[in-house]
Point group: C2
DNA sequence: GTTTATGCAAATTCTTTGCAATACT
DNA sequence: AGTATTGCAAAGAATTTGCATAAAC
């Protein structure tokens, strides 16, 4: 993702485009799987982890990233591709390999929806399939 | 769940039925929602947390409990109701309320299945809907 | 008697906050 | 000047391990 596009995305979500935030957007967009805070810390060692933490929280609150829990009980962050402000509508399934402990995006598999009982209101869905990936078979 | 039934379940999963393990099975079976380690520690203060931790790990490895991540990034444990040894087939959806931070079992909503791409093998699925529950509307 | 389970304490890891310094508008 | 952002350090919370004792077989 280039500079101009990154700035545009941040502004669209009401976030001021600082250098650090732009960098984090770029790193997130380059990753082909959702990243943990730890992974981000290792990938961008110029930004302090407290700042990464606060930036991710901000991104989450502004619906710029999805938050999902992987099979190893880690929290992962992934750029939203929709422009919805209040809920997520671009959700795809994820796969967690119990052998190599990697998390994969199943981009072609939208998260299946169900009918909720009366009174529940949905914002987002985590759909995580755990098992063994092709590389580990 | 009574004593005899608890012992039977443990033996079915190849777990030796000690007093502590029986107690944990009973507490898990009584809960109407999946429990965190913290909640279990508070509910059974006669067992040390390291033992609870090791027992839950054992239960997980023997497929006696499901492990799921809730919307607050906590890990929750829930008794399996199937007797499958190698995979889970009794999965239902869960709902996490972002206001009261409670996790609900949607027992009547089975987890929808999808077709996995070639090469992936599924063991279990986490299906977590996040939003606002009826009490918090 | 050997293996398994347990409790206690401590180590580790990860997340979160306080605060002073810096950068932005 | 005033607000927002950042880094550093440290606090907090939760998970995980080492080890000696106790229980089970």
């Amino acid at each position: 993702m280039d500079e101009a596009k990154s700035i545009e995305i941040l502004l669209e979500h009401g976030i001021r485009p600082t250098a650090n935030r732009l960098l984090l957007v770029k790193v997130l967009s380059k990753a082909e799987h959702p990243l943990t805070m730890k992974e981000l810390e290792d990938l961008v060692d110029t930004i302090d982890k407290s700042n990464i933490f606060r930036t991710l929280s901000l991104f989450r609150d502004q619906h710029l990233v999805h938050v999902l829990q992987d099979g190893a009980d880690a929290v992962r962050y992934e750029l939203c591709h929709s422009h919805e402000e209040d809920h997520d509508d671009d959700l795809h399934a994820h796969f967690y390999c119990e052998r190599c402990r990697q998390t994969f995006c199943l981009n072609d598999i939208p998260v299946p929806q169900v009918d909720l009982p009366k009174g529940y209101r949905m914002n987002t869905i985590n759909y995580l399939i755990k098992g063994i990936c092709p590389n580990c078979q």
